[in-house]
């Protein structure tokens, strides 16, 4: 029994290893497995994702449209999460970043609130 389960998990690992998807925005063909063997859910080049899972109801979503990265969240452990928003139905998801994600775009999302402040930040220099 355990042997069967082992074989199954190894098969799924192998499928993950050879599985690829193409990014809905930039068209880059990416391997589904990230460097450390976990399944990736966004394109490492443009960080865009696809809306395949319904988070409010649960289960697969029938939206299937593009999700664009809008924010960087920091966990208590210091790990970064990228927050995606569906361009069609405005659903939000969060997912951990991978080691080979485009650092330039990650950094651009992280500094965007400070680059476009909605109120003057000069007063904080006095604190």
């Amino acid at each position: 029994m355990s042997n069967t389960k082992k074989t199954l998990s190894r098969t799924s690992q192998n499928i993950l290893k050879i599985d690829t998807f193409s990014c809905v925005r930039c068209g880059l063909t990416v391997s589904a497995a990230a460097g450390d063997g976990i399944r990736r859910n966004h394109c490492p080049s443009c960080l865009h994702s696809q809306h395949v899972h319904d988070h409010v109801e649960g289960g697969p979503s029938d939206c299937q449209s593009r999700m664009s990265p809008i924010a960087i969240a920091v966990l208590r452990t210091g790990d970064w999460m990228v927050i995606h928003r569906c361009v069609r139905c405005d659903e939000l998801t969060s997912s951990p970043i991978c080691a080979d994600d485009n650092q330039l775009i990650l950094m651009r999302i992280a500094v965007r609130p400070l680059a476009q402040p909605s109120f003057p930040l000069e007063t904080f220099g006095d604190l």
């Binding site: 969240a73 210091g78 970064w80 998801t93 969060s94 609130p113 476009q116």
Partner: protein, 143 residues
């Protein structure tokens, strides 16, 4: 250069989507029926906010309550958990949005900031990703 950026800003402001209409009657139930006490800091908050028609978080600690499901103001969620500010995002027109996450079910929501929100807490939230000391190494600023 500044002139060009200003015109781009004005253009973004001109074709901005108007604030979503809410079907919920806020004035039902009499005077100040929708004032609330914050779940995070117990501050009594009035429902009229400067700059926005939907007060959905505490202006002092930015905590919110998980009451809406998909449409803002529908009050359809049965969770009622506490939602805490997770990160800051910017809309293409320069408007800051707070990303809230529910502490009990993990649901995310994005809300506009109000005019009387605590600016210090907002800026702390915005610089949170940049506080990490390993970040300079990650973006190859230092070897």
């Amino acid at each position: 250069m500044p002139r060009r950026s200003r015109s781009a800003h004005e253009r973004a402001r001109a074709n901005r989507r108007p604030q979503r209409h809410k079907d919920v009657l806020h004035r039902q139930g009499g005077h100040r029926a929708n004032d609330f006490r914050c779940v995070g800091c117990r501050l009594d908050v009035s429902s009229d906010a400067p700059g926005t028609t939907h007060r959905n978080h505490c202006p002092n600690c930015l905590a919110s309550l998980h009451v809406d499901r998909r449409i803002p103001g529908d009050r359809a969620a049965s969770c009622r958990g506490r939602m805490e500010a997770l990160s800051m995002s910017v809309r293409p027109d320069g408007e800051w949005m707070i990303i809230h996450q529910c502490r009990s079910c993990g649901e995310l929501s994005a809300n506009r900031i109000a005019g009387d929100d605590n600016a210090l807490i907002l800026v702390r939230l915005a610089v949170k990703p940049l506080r990490d000391p390993g970040i300079a190494r990650r973006v190859f600023l230092v070897p």
